[in-house]
C-alpha cells in the first residue's frame, strides 16, 4: 500500500477552485516534486495532505490517504497523530515559522511531547540531538537561544530538525528554500538528500524553481490552474518535456550554462566597439552606516563603480551584501556616510529626475488608493505639467509602450497581476525621461514566465531610449542573461567586477566560484557534478 494515495482531489476557496481533480501516488522512500507557477494550487495540495483545510471554510473533495490514514474522514484524534507523527511539514518563510518568544529547543520539545509520552527533560534532550543531526554546531547551547538569534539558513535547519523529531514516514516541504540565499539553499537541499538516504523518508517537494526540483527528487508533476499538466521521472520531464506548457516553462528558466540567448546580447556587441561613451553615472568610495554607537552596522564599505550610457551593469550578491543600499544611494534616496555619486560629471546629492528606480515588491511599489494612470503621471505633475490633456495622453502612451492598454488609466493596482504592476512601475520611471534606471530586484517576486517577459521589456527600452541600467538581483542566472558587466558583492564590498562572460566563465574570487557552484542545474548529471564541486570547496 503506497505511502500517499491522492485520487480526484478538489479544493474550493469560496468560488475560486484552487485544485481541480488531481490524482497521484507516492511510494515509501520515493521523492516527488510539485512544480508550478503562483496560483497553480501546489501549496494547497501539500496542506490538504495533512487536512489543514479543516475548519477554514474551504470545501475539499476526492480522497486523500496518507500513511494508511484517510485524511478526509479522520477523527481529530487520528489527525493529531498523523500530523507530525506520520507526516511532517516544513514551510517557506523561516523568519515567521517559529514562535519569537520561546527558545528553539523548547519548541521542538513541545512538538515531540505531543507524539511521544516522555518527560520534559527527555524531550529537550531529543531536541538537542535532532538539532545536532541537521548540522547546528554546539546544539546544546544553541537550543536555548531564540529564533531571531539564528540566521535564515539555521532557522530552516531547525524546522527540519523539528520535522525529524518524531521520525515521520513522509516529509512535505512547501517552498523550503525559496526565502534563502543560493549558497544556503544548496546546503539545505544537500541536507534533505542525506537525511532521506539515512532515514528512507518519503519527500513531497513543492517549488516554483525547476532547478531546485531537478536537484532533489525522482519524479516531477507539473501543475497549472489546479490541474496536472505532466507527470513522470525527472530526466524525462525536464529532459524531453511532452506538454507545450512544460516546454514554455523550461525555456523561460534562465540558465548558467546555456548560451546567453538573452534578447539584449546581439545589439550590445555593436555598441562596445564604438568608443565607450562618457560615464553617465560614477560612484567613488561610497560608504553607508546604519544605527549609532555599539549597534552601528556598515552596509556598504568603500564601493566605486562607473556606468556608461546604454550599458547594463549587473550587481549580484546574497542578502546582507549591501546591494540594495548601494542601489538606493546611486538613486539619491539614501545619503552616503562617505564617498560621492556623480551624474554626467557633476556631483549630485539627493533626488535627480534623470536617475529613476524600479522597485522589487509589486504590492508596495504602487499607491493602492490611486489609479495606475495617476501613479504614472506623478512625475509629470511634479515637474509642473498642468495641462490634464497632455498628462493623460503621455500616460496612455507610456502604458502602451510597456505592453498595457491606454484605457487602463483609471483602473486600480489591485486589479492587475504582479507582472503587470511591475510594467506600471517601469512606465512611471520612464515618465521622468530618465537617462539611468536602477532596478532593485525587479523580477525576483515574479514567476519564471512573467520574469522573462519583463526582462525582455527592459532590454527593448534600453536599446530604444539608450538608457543605462543598473540591475540589482540575487539570482545569478537572471543577472547573467541581462547584464553587459557584472559586479559581485559580499559584506558591503565588490569582490569581483568585469564583463559578464569573463566573470561567469572564469571566476577569480573564491566567493564567486562558491556562488556559481550553488546554483541548481536542470539536468541531473550537471547537478551531481556541482554537488561534488561544492563538497570539495566546503572541504578546502
Amino acid at each position: 500500500m503506497s505511502l500517499v494515495e491522492v485520487t480526484g482531489l478538489r479544493v474550493d476557496f469560496g468560488e475560486l477552485r484552487a485544485v481541480d481533480g488531481l490524482s497521484f501516488r507516492l511510494e515509501q522512500g520515493a521523492a516527488l516534486a510539485l512544480v508550478g507557477e503562483s496560483g497553480s494550487g501546489k501549496s494547497t495540495v501539500a496542506s490538504a495532505l495533512l487536512g489543514l483545510h479543516h475548519g477554514t471554510g474551504a470545501r475539499v473533495g476526492g480522497s486523500v490517504r496518507v500513511a494508511g490514514t484517510d485524511v478526509q474522514r479522520a477523527s481529530d484524534e487520528e489527525l493529531r497523530r498523523l500530523r507530525g507523527g506520520q507526516a511532517a511539514m516544513v514551510f517557506q518563510d523561516p523568519l515567521s515559522s517559529l514562535d519569537p518568544y520561546y527558545a528553539i529547543g523548547d519548541q521542538i520539545a513541545e512538538v515531540y511531547r505531543v507524539h511521544a509520552r516522555v518527560s520534559r527533560r527527555a524531550a529537550r534532550a531529543r531536541a538537542v540531538d535532532v538539532l545536532d543531526r541537521v548540522g547546528i554546531a554546539d546544539a546544546a547551547r544553541r537550543s536555548r537561544s531564540r529564533p531571531h538569534e539564528f540566521s535564515g539558513g539555521m532557522r530552516q535547519r531547525a524546522l527540519i530538525a523539528m520535522a525529524l523529531a518524531c521520525e515521520p514516514r513522509l516529509l512535505i516541504a512547501d517552498e523550503p528554500t525559496t526565502a534563502l540565499d543560493v549558497t544556503v539553499q544548496a546546503q539545505v537541499l544537500d541536507l534533505l538528500r542525506t537525511l532521506r538516504e539515512e532515514t528512507g523518508m518519503g519527500l513531497l517537494l513543492v517549488t516554483h524553481d525547476v532547478g531546485v526540483a531537478a536537484e532533489s527528487v525522482d519524479e516531477v508533476l507539473v501543475m497549472r490552474h489546479g490541474r496536472a499538466v505532466e507527470h513522470g521521472p525527472v530526466s524525462s520531464v525536464l529532459g524531453a518535456p511532452a506538454q507545450p506548457y512544460t516546454r514554455e516553462l523550461l525555456a523561460a528558466v534562465p540558465r548558467l550554462d546555456a548560451p546567453r540567448a538573452g534578447s539584449t546580447a546581439p545589439e550590445k556587441a555593436v555598441l562596445e566597439e564604438a568608443a565607450p561613451q562618457g560615464a553617465v553615472l560614477e560612484a567613488t568610495g561610497l560608504r553607508r552606516e546604519f544605527g549609532r554607537g555599539k549597534r552601528a552596522f556598515t552596509a556598504v564599505r568603500d564601493v566605486s563603480l562607473t556606468l556608461r550610457r546604454g550599458e547594463t551593469l549587473g550587481v549580484v550578491g546574497e542578502s546582507g551584501s549591501g546591494k540594495t543600499t548601494l542601489g538606493r544611494m546611486l538613486v539619491g534616496l539614501l545619503e552616503p556616510t562617505a564617498g560621492e555619486v556623480r551624474y554626467e560629471g557633476r556631483p549630485h546629492t539627493g533626488v535627480n529626475p534623470a536617475v529613476q528606480m524600479v522597485f522589487q515588491d509589486p504590492v508596495s511599489s504602487l499607491n493602492p488608493r490611486r489609479s495606475v494612470g495617476e501613479s504614472i503621471a506623478d512625475p509629470l505633475r511634479a515637474r509642473g505639467e498642468r495641462d490634464e490633456g497632455r498628462i493623460r495622453e503621455r500616460a496612455a502612451e507610456l502604458l502602451e509602450r510597456v505592453g498595457l492598454e491606454g484605457a487602463h488609466y483609471d483602473r486600480y493596482p489591485h486589479e492587475f497581476s504582479g507582472g503587470q504592476r511591475q510594467r506600471v512601475g517601469i512606465a512611471r520611471a520612464l515618465a521622468a525621461d530618465p537617462r539611468v534606471i536602477v532596478c532593485d530586484e525587479p523580477v525576483s517576486a515574479l514567476d519564471v514566465t512573467t520574469q522573462a517577459h519583463v526582462v525582455a521589456l527592459l532590454g527593448e527600452l534600453q536599446r530604444e531610449l539608450g538608457l543605462a541600467l543598473v540591475f540589482v538581483a540575487h539570482d545569478l542566472a537572471v543577472v547573467r542573461q541581462v547584464s553587459d558587466r557584472v559586479a559581485v558583492m559580499r559584506q558591503g564590498r565588490i569582490v569581483e567586477e568585469g564583463p559578464v562572460d569573463e566573470v561567469y566563465g572564469s571566476p577569480q574570487d573564491p566567493y564567486t566560484r562558491q556562488l556559481l557552484a550553488a546554483v541548481p542545474a536542470l539536468d541531473p548529471e550537471a547537478a551531481a557534478r556541482r554537488r561534488a564541486e561544492r563538497r570539495e570547496l566546503a572541504a578546502a
Binding site: 517559529l98 514562535d99 518568544y101
Partner: protein, 332 residues
C-alpha cells in the same frame, strides 16, 4: 547587563526633565487662575490690611519666576519657615507648605499616597484578571455566540461612568444586601483584613471600567497572533488548540497588555478622583481637586509631580518587562 544601568540612567534624567517641564506648566497655568489666594487663606471677613499681611506672609506678591525659583531652591536645599513661635526646617526635597493647612506638602503626600496606591494596586489586579480573562475567553470562543455576549458586557463596562456604577454598587451591596461595610479607608499597616474589606467595592467599580479596554485589547492581539505563521506550524504538528491559544497566542498579547497597563496605572494614581470622592478615600486625586478649587498652588504642584512621577515610572517598568519578555526589544 550594562545596557540596563545605561537605560536606568537615561530614564532618570528623562523623568527629571519631564517632571520639571510639568512643574513649569502647572506654575504658569495656576499663576493665571483667578481667585485671590490671600483672601481665601485669610478668610472671608478679613480687612484689606490683614489680607495684605497674609499675602506678604506667603510671598504671593513676588513675580512668577521668583516664586518658581524659591520652589526650585526648596526642592534642592529645603526651606525654613516660621510657625510664629519657632522656626522649622523642611528638608530637601521640600515642596513647600500648603497655603490652607500650613502642612508640609511632602507630609501631605506621604499621608495620601498609600491610599491611592492601595486603590490602584487592588484595582489593577482585578482589571487584569477580569479584562485579560474575558479577552482570552472571547478569543477562545471567537465567532461563537458566547463571544458576542462577552464583548457586549465588556463594552458595557466603558459605557457607564464610574459614579453611576460605584453608586449603584454601594447602595445594593452595602445598603440593601449589607454584604460589605460602607467603604472607609483603614490603613494597610493598621489592619490588613479591614483594609481589604473596605477597599473591595472601590476596587471592583474601578476595575469594571478599566477591564473592558483590556478585554478588547487581549482579544484583538490574540487574534492577530493566531494569524501568524508559527501558529500554523504548531497546528501542522498536531499541537492541541488549547495549548496553541494558551501558550502561544496569549504570549503574543503580553506586550500590548503591559503597555496599556502601564498607561492605566500611571493615570489612575491621580485620575481615580471620582472613585476616591464617591467612596470617601482620602487619596491624591481628591486632594488635588480640592487644592485646585482653593488655588493652593504648592499642594497642586506637589500632587501633579507625584502623579507625573508614577506615570513615567509605570512606563519605564513596562519597557523593562517588554524587553524581558521579548529579547528582540533593546532598551533605549
Amino acid at each position: 547587563m550594562n545596557g540596563f544601568t545605561g537605560f536606568v540612567l537615561r530614564r532618570t534624567v528623562g523623568t527629571a526633565v519631564t517632571l520639571l517641564a510639568i512643574s513649569v506648566i502647572v506654575y504658569v497655568v495656576f499663576y493665571a487662575t483667578p481667585g485671590n489666594v490671600a483672601q481665601i487663606t485669610c478668610g472671608p471677613r478679613c480687612s484689606p490690611e490683614q489680607v495684605h499681611q497674609v499675602a506678604r506672609q506667603l510671598n504671593l506678591d513676588d513675580p512668577l519666576f521668583l516664586r518658581y525659583w524659591h520652589f526650585l531652591q526648596g526642592l534642592v536645599a529645603g526651606q525654613d519657615y516660621s510657625t510664629g513661635t519657632s522656626v522649622q526646617h523642611c528638608s530637601a526635597p521640600c515642596l513647600g507648605l500648603s497655603y490652607q493647612s500650613d502642612q508640609q506638602v511632602t507630609q501631605l503626600i506621604w499621608a495620601k499616597l498609600p491610599v491611592s496606591l492601595s486603590l490602584v494596586a487592588g484595582a489593577m489586579v482585578l482589571w487584569l484578571l477580569l479584562g485579560v480573562g474575558t479577552g482570552v475567553l472571547s478569543a477562545w470562543r471567537r465567532g461563537r455566540f458566547s463571544e458576542r455576549v462577552l464583548t457586549g458586557v465588556t463594552l458595557a463596562g466603558t459605557a457607564t461612568p464610574v459614579f453611576v456604577i460605584g453608586l449603584v454598587l454601594m447602595i445594593v451591596v452595602c445598603g440593601e444586601l449589607r454584604l460589605l461595610p460602607f467603604p472607609q479607608y483603614v490603613a494597610l499597616t493598621d489592619d490588613p483584613e479591614q483594609w481589604a474589606w473596605n477597599l473591595l467595592l472601590p476596587w471592583l467599580s474601578l476595575a469594571l471600567i478599566e477591564a473592558a479596554a483590556f478585554a478588547r485589547l487581549t482579544r484583538a492581539s490574540m487574534l492577530e497572533t493566531l494569524a501568524e505563521d508559527h501558529i500554523r506550524t504548531f497546528r501542522a504538528y498536531g499541537v492541541g488548540e488549547r495549548s496553541i491559544v494558551g501558550r502561544h497566542a496569549l504570549r503574543g498579547a503580553f506586550a500590548p497588555v503591559i503597555a496599556l497597563n502601564a498607561n492605566n496605572v500611571g493615570s489612575a494614581i491621580g485620575g481615580a478622583v471620582l472613585t476616591e470622592t464617591l467612596f470617601g478615600l482620602p487619596g491624591i486625586g481628591q486632594e488635588l481637586v480640592h487644592a485646585v478649587n482653593v488655588v493652593d498652588l504648592p499642594v497642586v504642584v506637589g500632587m501633579v509631580l507625584v502623579i507625573g512621577f508614577f506615570v513615567v515610572l509605570a512606563n519605564a517598568v513596562a519597557d523593562v518587562l517588554y524587553a524581558v519578555a521579548d529579547r528582540r526589544v533593546v532598551l533605549t
